[in-house]
Assembly symmetry: C2
Homo-oligomer: 230 residues x 2
């Protein structure tokens, strides 16, 4: 009855898992074979009970009085996240953001391997960024199929987002990491995860506003404040 039940892990837990990997790798480097939930929690500003609950979700059992086996834990978390074997990905949109992501070396740690960039601008096609080629959009579908690429990273403009997403879906892409400000309608058979900068900034600025409001201070006014046009 009791099996390796692949019960889907709660989303908040999944979002915390990468932090655990980071802490556990540090512990591993320090030569620790085991780490307690309270040690991990302390390093991350969490409660130990939450760490235990999260680690239980990935299916690793700890030793009472000892803690959790570090190496095993890292492996189990990576497995849960699908980070145990790297996935190839294409970047759609070779603008500044696409270029930045293509150049970020840290993704290797997350099982993500950016293979190439695609852009509809002929002026960009043929160039290379960080050793990765910028290819024309026309080649996207063919290459995605040939290389079995399932992940696309969307960094085009807000306007081009929907069209690009449709093209990617058509090409058999299974997961879209959407960095555009455009909220895409659900696409059948495609997982979409959005990096929502507006939502993040909303949290930041609302907290800042309530902080200022609390102090009761009016805005200090500068002489010439330029109108920012959208």
């Amino acid at each position: 009855m009791t099996e390796d039940r692949q019960m889907s892990i709660a989303l908040p837990t999944i979002r915390r898992l990468p932090m655990y990997i980071a802490v556990l790798e540090k512990a591993l480097q320090d030569g620790q074979t085991h780490a307690s939930s309270s040690q991990i929690a302390g390093a991350l500003g969490l409660e130990s009970i939450q760490v235990r609950k999260d680690l239980a979700a990935v299916g690793v059992v700890g030793q009472p009085g000892v803690g959790f086996p570090v190496g095993e834990l890292i492996a189990a978390i990576e497995k849960s996240l699908g980070w145990d074997n790297a996935s190839d990905a294409f970047v759609i949109g070779a603008g500044h953001l696409g270029t930045a992501l293509a150049g970020y070396r840290g993704f290797g740690r997350y099982g993500l391997n950016i293979v190439a960039l695609f852009d509809s601008d002929p002026a960009k096609v043929g160039q290379a960024v960080h050793g990765k080629k910028i290819l024309p959009m026309e080649k996207f579908a063919d290459l995605a199929a040939r290389l079995h690429v399932r992940i696309a990273i969307l960094t085009v403009s807000a306007e081009a987002a929907i069209e690009s997403a449709a093209l990617a879906a058509e090409a058999g892409i299974k997961a879209l990491w959407n960095f555009t400000p455009t909220k895409l309608a659900p696409i059948d058979g495609v997982i979409v995860e959005r990096v929502d900068l507006a939502a993040s900034l909303a949290v930041l600025s609302s907290r800042l506003a309530s902080l200022v409001g609390a102090s009761g201070a009016a805005r200090p006014q500068a002489a010439d404040e330029p109108e920012s046009e959208v």
Copy 2:
């Protein structure tokens, strides 16, 4: 007793507010003076009751049988978020990501005005990106004070993050938008909001992994590549 109570709004609600602004502005362009909760919900794939709860949180009252006043609603949301008057911001780290953010025109809509970039690399200092100067880190504290800049956008390397954050805090920065992979320890008097790419990617790749796992299929390793039906 009943007043404009500035009760802090729930975080999930705050994160949804920018979407409402986008939908409402479209409605405004279409000449609508009022929008119903179900109309807004429909456009965003939400439930109408959630929209009503969210809008109640920003303090706008709707008209039964009619809906919510669009213009008033936009203004109220912007006020809640502190987007009603633009805030100046500095970017710390003029790498690819910092450059990308400095060039993004959409931030004006979010009440964010990037004024300048800072970098410790002398080779970058003196250049300009998107009409904004790259200045040496040594000038950061002085300029932040003189221009009353309260927001810094952190796009340095993982290694430099802690040091840069400390410098910003020292310079009187009140809000840090942290794009680095480094989780900063709490800093007294400084609001930190992190854009956690690892967490986002964790959601994406775990869902992708469970999708593949669910289909039961091992990775296709066809002898000769099947013509994918594109």
